[in-house]
Amino acid sequence: MGKFAAWVGYLIVLLGLPQLFDSVLAITILNQMAIAIVFALSYNMLLGQGGMLSFGHAVYFGLGGFMAVHALIMIEFETVYFSITLIPLVGGLIGLVAAIFVGSFSTHKAGTVFAMISLGIGELVAASSLIFVSFFGGEAGVSADRTFGPPFFGIEFFQDVEIYYLSAGWVFVATVFMYLFTQTPAGRMANAVRDNPERAEFIGYSARRVRFISFCTSGFFAGVAGGLFALNYEFITEENLNAVTSGRVLLMAYIGGLGYFIGPIIGAVVLTLMNSLLSNYTELWMLYLGIMFVLTVLFLPRGFAGFIMIHQTAWLRGKLSSLFLPYLITGMPAIMFGGSILAAIEMLHHDGEPFGFLFITLDSGNTLHWLALTAVAAASYYACWRSLGQLNAAWEEANGVGDPTERGPG
């Protein structure tokens, strides 16, 4: 019952967001998020569920996208004629075919060998896309127009918001199918092979075959994401299948949390927001992204989703609200400390000229500003450190740690 409610809620949120955020920019960002969610979820099938680290996943995304754009061109010139709502399927099929081809030789082993092959394939495909100009269009890529297909219930997809609803529909369907995959024997065996391939072989499953199935399914959904990209932007370039895009989806999945199905969704949303919005406020957004990534790997190895999930015990015991105040007490100085570090970095960057940081103006030439910043940093660090004790105590209390008479949840 709870799960069903979650899915309905998901659908409602997907469909309802454009009502709340209806500016052109907001719709753009929502479209981006939709694409990123499908892409990141497909990547998680490989890494989180299958334990296969790939550095070249953008290949399936990009190839799917390129084929989708060519399909749009063919629709425009009436070589073929079908509704553009099926374009993501075209992308998915190409992604599947490519994955079948590459998977046939790359899935024999997992681990470093698999990662290195994926890296090699990624670089090769990215390089060929610049050489084979007739299909890939060189560095300007390939461009198309999505409004020439047959109308879908009267909609001709001139507006971005119409594409959003189509994307949302596809995102929902893709998420459902990817989730269902984790519940099938294939999906479960993928987990088993990830954890202990030898044992999986002992119970009669070919580790290689299981990996191959995961790989192909993952490639299919990556291609679907590529098709959504083609519909949204009506163009695609080499950039969409290169190592940077592959790295980005790794970042998304990892920051969101690999061990949980919902993790990549969170990661996709957070990273899209950072990518689109943060860059408008500071030139150093990529530095902050790098710092955030490294900190997440160091301190939140299970990602944001993991961080949310560790509160599960407390929630089940009904003690979640008792953590609110301790978090506030530790969180406030932590935020102050983080903010002062950010301010210091921005000050160093804006060497000599005053600039606006949040709601105050800072000037790196002004020693008073530096002193104030150091004082704030030191004080907040100290306060945070001192408050950790009470957070720890509250945590143990909420989780019933160390209380022998208390029974576990359920």
Partner: protein, 423 residues
């Protein structure tokens, strides 16, 4: 009774004061509403330095030439809105939609022809689907000829001579040198590199059929770490000169490798100056590196131009005025606005077509209406430290003008079939 009378007067006074205030506020708002221009180029990432430099030059042009003198169109200030596209076509799309979202109708863009192409198609699509809310594209640097030929658009104006025009001048210059008998062409393997190669071969065949092309090499962009193997081929081919359209790290690596190998031949380039390249080449590049460009090197052609550049340097000590065409573009844009008394892209476009303008260097510019390509004088300059008044990269080295061609002689044919909007 007295009280009532006073309170009524008070209310009337208050009301009229309020109305007056609102009216004056309203009129002052509409009089001072800035003319907002978007600037979409890389402001972070690998190409950030070029994009940021361009932004500073645009900002300087707006402030120095217009905002500090009372603005334009009856007191309106020019506001430049920077949008970072990280040199990525995808991010350009996002920033474009942001511009649309914020009601910006004019976009300046220049770095990367790939991005310019993408922007061009996107803007055409947008303008077709949203009549009355069109966007204007001011391309100040992307030199792929296709943008004013097959892909020309009513809403796109290019303010730099394109690759074929520049090569025309470059090959004229080379043809004047009787000592050059063998030329090696090397470039990045993409559309611009290919245009440079194909066009150079064709033009040289016409002008100096005795020149032999001893090499025509393509290498992947940004991937070659060490150009020495290529230089080996250049040496063994016996070439007297090298032509390349390389830019950025590829340009400086290539130039360094050629110089380091002891090869003392001229290198004809498009982009071998500024942004750290001049400083890196330094003394080794003197009288070897040549550039074809639209901006006059030293000596600067007028006092006004020198003062303008000096002032920019004073405000931005770590930047150079590398893209004077940005200033040209802004000045012509403003003239179009003033002539049409409008900030609507359609009116501006009509006014820009066939506009003639004399810039502060005394150069005559003409925006050809058939393909929206600027016709301007082009120059060939050499990397040196002799007679350099305005240097590059604060290095003491800079560009010295060696050869100039007036605008009319740089014109080439175009294949533009422009679809004009129905209005």
């Amino acid at each position: 009774m007295k009280r009532l009378h006073r309170s009524t007067t008070f209310r009337i006074t208050l009301r009229s004061l309020l109305v007056g205030l609102v009216l004056s506020l309203f009129s002052s708002i509409s009089a001072q509403e800035p003319v907002r221009i978007a600037f979409i180029d890389p402001l972070s990432g690998t190409f950030a330095s070029i994009g940021t430099s361009g932004l500073k030059q645009l900002q300087y042009a707006a402030d120095e030439l217009f905002n500090s003198k009372g603005g334009i169109l009856g007191g309106r200030m020019i506001e430049i809105v920077p949008l970072d596209n990280k040199q990525s076509p995808t991010d350009t799309q996002i920033q474009f939609r942001r511009a649309v979202s914020e009601g910006l109708r004019i976009i300046f863009q220049g770095n990367s022809s790939a991005v310019a192409n993408t922007l061009n198609s996107t803007i055409s699509r947008h303008n077709r689907r949203n009549p009355g809310q069109e966007i204007l594209q001011i391309n100040y640097s992307a030199v792929d000829p296709i943008l004013t030929n097959e892909q020309c658009s009513f809403w796109h104006f290019r303010f730099d001579a394109h690759a074929v025009m520049k090569l025309n001048v470059l090959t004229d210059y080379i043809a004047m040198n009787p000592e050059i008998k063998k030329i090696y062409i090397i470039g990045q393997d993409y559309s611009f590199g290919q245009v440079v190669s194909d066009t150079s071969i064709e033009l040289l065949r016409e002008k100096r059929p005795d020149i032999e092309i001893v090499g025509n090499e393509f290498h992947p962009i940004g991937q070659v770490k060490d150009f020495t193997p290529y230089v080996t081929k250049i040496v063994s081919s016996g070439a007297d000169a090298v032509i390349t359209g390389n830019f950025g790290a590829d340009m400086v690596s290539l130039a360094r490798s050629i110089i380091d190998s002891g090869l003392d031949i001229p290198i004809y380039t498009f982009y071998a100056a500024y942004d750290g390249i001049t400083a890196t080449l330094g003394a080794d590049g003197v009288d070897k590196i040549y550039l074809v460009h639209n901006d006059a090197g030293n000596p600067l052609p007028s006092e006004e131009r020198l003062a303008y550049t000096r002032n920019f340097k004073r405000l931005n000590p770590n930047n150079d005025m590398t893209q004077f065409r940005i200033t040209n573009a802004l000045q012509m844009l403003v003239q179009a606005m003033e002539a049409s008394q409008s900030v609507d892209p359609y009116d501006i476009a009509l006014a820009l077509e066939d506009m003639r303008f004399t810039n502060m260097s005394g150069e005559e510019l003409w925006m050809r209406g058939e393909d929206h390509q600027i016709i301007q004088p082009l120059h060939i300059s050499v990397h040196t430290d002799q007679n350099i008044v305005v240097d590059a990269d604060n290095s003491g080295f800079g560009l010295y003008r060696d050869f100039s061609v007036p605008g009319e002689e740089t014109m080439v044919d175009h294949s533009c079939r422009m679809r004009r909007p129905r209005r």
